[in-house]
Symmetry: C2
Subunit: 217 residues, 2 copies
Amino acid sequence: MTRVRVDLNISLDGRATTVDQTPDDPFGQDWGRLTEAYVATRTFRERVLHDTSGAGTTDLDDEFAARYFQGIGAEILGAGMFGLHAHPDDPEWRGWWGDEPPFRVPVFVLTHERRPSLEMAGGTTFHFVTASPEEALAMATEVAGGGDVRVGGGATTVRSFLAAGLVDDLHVAIAPIILGQGVNLWDDLRGLERDCRIETVVAPSGTIHVTFTRERR
Amino acid sequence: MTRVRVDLNISLDGRATTVDQTPDDPFGQDWGRLTEAYVATRTFRERVLHDTSGAGTTDLDDEFAARYFQGIGAEILGAGMFGLHAHPDDPEWRGWWGDEPPFRVPVFVLTHERRPSLEMAGGTTFHFVTASPEEALAMATEVAGGGDVRVGGGATTVRSFLAAGLVDDLHVAIAPIILGQGVNLWDDLRGLERDCRIETVVAPSGTIHVTFTRERR
């Protein structure tokens, strides 16, 4: 049975987005600190940067990073995560990930913009759809071939799926820093742990990996 | 050199207080869930409940609980934590902890109410003072005999000491639950981790113990 999975990098105070981006530093310093341990993994280097040298960490952070992609049959992204907010009305924009994105499955991008589907190298096809979380999930499940559906982000999109009770497996990689600004993942999600088994492990990087596994639906 | 220490029970979303108290349930269900692992420790049972049967957990949760009291020469509490908000203008009120409170050192209670000092059994004396965090800390340090000063709570008092940069050792025992309401410990404390070594360990209860240890002042 298809499970709906989420992985997010957050700070100890729950911040899943950062607000210190500038034209000269389009990701910002905070984003680098929030994702530092993930970006350092061998999986990220191979899968996202196409670095096949074998460089990168291979401990617990990497085990979680590798799992992000295992058994996923379709992905759902918000418009902002795909880059439509940063690149409005640009028909040439094809996402942040180059010609061969790391997804390698159908990706549904939630947007009110009408755009033709984009078939990329490596098995990724971006479909642009106007849909509620439930509708997007039905579409993604249908093409996932029995695999799981990953809600890849951004934080606001993930929160809409969490609030709707649609997520079976939530993994947060908590960087032990206090950002004090940005979207708080946990806001208005009282009782999220209900029906879940919760496990926590700590990586050598200091990253605190917490998983919520829904045991009944 | 005296260090200023804090230990708090918080939820995964940072909540350090709960708001579901009722006349019939003066602590509330959430408080029980937030402090469940601490209350189950042998240290809590011995030191707070005077249960000398040896009952209680003795693993990592208990190691942290035992450390709460080790090397402490004086304590600082907010008025609410002592119970002055729940028992206003009651000269008979002597705190929540019975005749022999667990502190066993001088305790400075921050309040605008003028009250005579209360000498309790076992070495605890409550002093009621109107003071800023810095002033209270100076008073506590002076009587601590070279021991550390613990800021025992509540959350708002702890936050005022954290915001003033006065805390050297912060330990949070994070219950893996999302409360969604109550005081958020982390609000407006961006960069709290600066100059700190941060370590995380997970107890068998699922409690996530994070310590911030300031390495230079």
